[in-house]
């Protein structure tokens, strides 16, 4: 067909609308400010700003915080806020990715058994590792390995169960593997009732106040997973027309799905390893964005990262301040706000998700 007349390009990919990108960034920035300012010890806004200014080497600005306040800000609060942002962004991105890849709006990042596997790994570490090893490093590693083993098992069971095209087979395999690992984990826990409290606390999830070490530990995985998923975000839109049609559009569906699932799972396993099981973030954040912005995956995914990060930072503020000095497990906070919201989602979006 001739294209002599300059074609009017009526059709454009619906990318990230600036208004939503701005709103999500603003939400994250506000959440981080709240997260840094709110805590048992009141750090004044001006003092915090002066300290940030000093760290950023703004000429003529020096911190007006005391040495103790400095270390509360930079060694406790700031790393905790950053960690909450990384974990929240990762879980919500992984949730949105799973929902797209499996074409099921109700799946969460724990779908393929990563949570149950990580739970077993953490329980084994808490129950059997000597106290010395059980410190900060061994627990996340055990949880990560447990999560990875569970997902690999799910994938091989799902694949060998025949029709590999069928995502329902994979989801069923995930449910099966998860219940098997949960059974093992409960058994180990029953045999070691002295560690019950510790395991229980881990399972309910929390952002540890462990300084920068956990941030450094998970950052590479989260960064890698996020980069891969965001690069492939158009492919998730293509997958939404079904495996066979996506194939007829020239896509190697199995390879793309594997890449996306591996990336989402690695990121989730890293998050679970340091923070335990934080439910609902991976479902409610992507759904809230869908309802508000009504977008395809290519815009949904970056928005999920930003909004999920902000959401978990705020949830963590509630977790550590509502009953201060006690902490409410983060999983309880997210579920307390997440469950009613999710009921609303179920009632209002029967279709269109």
């Amino acid at each position: 067909m001739d294209v002599t007349a300059a074609p009017r390009l009526d059709v454009r990919p619906r990318g990230l609308a600036p208004v939503w990108a701005f709103a999500a960034v603003a939400f994250l920035v506000l959440s981080v400010i709240v997260g840094v300012l709110v805590g048992p010890i009141d750090l004044g806004t001006g003092d915090v700003l002066s300290s940030v200014g000093e760290r950023l080497r703004v000429p003529g600005v020096s911190s007006s915080l005391s040495a103790t306040e400095e270390s509360i800000l930079w060694e406790i609060r700031m790393p905790r806020v950053i960690l909450a942002a990384l974990v929240g962004g990762m879980l919500s991105l992984a949730g949105a990715t799973y929902q797209g890849v499996f074409r099921n709006p109700l799946v969460d990042p724990y779908l393929l058994g990563v949570a149950a596997g990580a739970g077993l790994g953490a329980t084994l570490a808490i129950a059997y590792l000597p106290g010395v090893l059980r410190g900060q490093q061994a627990l996340p590693i055990a949880a990560f390995v447990g999560g990875a083993v569970a997902v690999v098992l799910t994938y091989s069971v799902g694949r060998s169960a025949g029709r590999e095209r069928d995502t329902a087979t994979l989801v069923l395999a995930g449910v099966t593997v998860a219940s098997f690992f949960t059974a093992l984990q409960t058994f180990v826990q029953q045999q070691n009732t002295d560690t019950l409290q510790q395991v229980y606390t881990w399972i309910l999830g929390s952002i540890p106040s462990s300084g920068w070490s956990d941030v450094v530990l998970i950052l590479p995985y989260v960064a890698l997973a996020t980069t891969v998923i965001l690069l492939y975000r158009r492919m998730i839109d293509v997958l939404s027309v079904g495996d066979e049609e996506a194939t007829s559009l020239g896509v190697d569906v199995r390879r793309i799905r594997l890449v996306l699932v591996v990336a989402a799972t690695v990121g989730t396993a890293a998050a679970v390893a340091v923070c335990g099981l934080i439910g609902f973030v991976g479902i409610i954040v992507p759904h809230a964005i869908r309802m508000l912005a009504g977008v395809g995956y290519r815009a949904l995914l970056p928005l999920s990262v930003l909004a999920g990060a902000g959401f978990l930072v705020l949830a963590d503020v509630i977790a550590r301040t509502a009953l201060a000095p006690a902490e409410i497990p983060l999983g309880i906070v997210t579920a307390f706000f997440g469950a009613p919201f999710f009921m609303l989602v179920l009632r209002t979006t029967r279709s269109g998700v």
């Binding site: 067909m1 294209v3 074609p7 009017r8 390009l9 009526d10 059709v11 454009r12 990919p13 619906r14 690069l231 492939y232 158009r234 492919m235 839109d237 293509v238 939404s240 027309v241 079904g242 066979e244 049609e245 194939t247 007829s248 559009l249 020239g250 896509v251 190697d252 793309i256 869908r290 009504g294 395809g296 279709s351 269109g352 998700v353």
Partner: protein
């Protein structure tokens, strides 16, 4: 000139041969209607040509074996319009038609001006100008059907396979859709293979008909040669009259017994 060549193509589903040793050559620019009773293997044959189901035998496009092609390369040569496509209700028409550009893009690429131009042209040709921002969930059945065809056109493939392209449409929209495909074929030299149930419609548009029964080709030729009272009776188990109309043929179903006859 042969553009599609099938040799001894067999597809087994659940151990049963659904397509059974088919040899078929389709010329460039031809409009071929695949007809046959339910379960004859029409859809499966289309899926084999699009390499969406595993088959034995060989299928070539322009002399090249499709089994040796990259998936994206095959999709640049051949588009398929499924009978019951999955149309995500939240997606806009523009986004959906742009999905047709996927084989022209790398897995990480974003659509550029050329892709947007191709999608815009496809929408214009299907009389869907201004539909770009509409959501698929808000379209009528006929509009949805046209959008799916637009996606296939945006793919800019020389061969388009259609599985029951008019099944969801009323008679007016059936005619519109088939007229449009005919125009596209004439303008762009498309090769069309369409599985169709409506024999009269098929006879109006197709140059050639292939009648399948139980996975085999049982008749192949111009519509008047394939659509005979005897062949329809034996393969469809239907009682019909074939009536010539302006050089084409029409199939009229004939009532075999009436209730009054049966009662008496």
């Amino acid at each position: 000139m042969t553009t599609i060549g099938l040799s001894e193509v067999t597809v087994r589903l659940g151990g049963r041969p659904v397509v059974d040793g088919i040899d078929l050559d389709v010329a460039e620019g031809e409009w071929l209607a695949l007809i046959g009773p339910n379960g004859a293997g029409k859809t499966t044959l289309l899926r084999a040509i699009a390499r969406l189901v595993s088959y034995s035998g060989s299928i070539s496009l322009g002399g090249r074996d499709i089994a040796a092609m990259q998936r994206a390369e095959l999709s640049r040569m051949l588009a398929i319009v499924p009978q019951d496509p999955l149309v995500p209700p939240w997606m806009t028409v523009g986004e959906y038609v742009l999905l047709g550009r996927t084989p022209h893009l790398g897995p990480l690429a974003k659509e550029g001006r050329r892709d947007r131009a191709a999608a815009t042209r496809a929408l214009e040709r299907l009389d869907l100008r201004g539909f770009g921002e509409r959501r698929l969930g808000t379209l009528s059945g006929g509009e949805k059907q046209r959008v799916v065809v637009a996606r296939a056109l945006a793919q800019e493939a020389a061969i388009v396979l259609l599985d029951e392209p008019t099944a969801a449409l009323d008679i007016g929209h059936q005619q519109q859709a088939l007229d449009l495909l005919d125009v596209l074929r004439a303008e762009s030299g498309l090769t069309l293979i369409a599985a169709m149930h409506d024999l009269t419609m098929a006879a109006q548009y197709a140059d050639r008909m292939v009648l399948l029964d139980r996975g085999r080709v049982v008749a192949d030729g111009a519509p008047p040669d394939v659509l005979t009272e005897a062949s329809i009776a034996s393969y469809y188990g239907a009682s019909i009259d074939v009536i010539p109309v302006d050089g084409r043929v029409a199939v009229i179903p004939r009532r075999t017994t009436s209730a009054t006859q049966r009662l008496s």
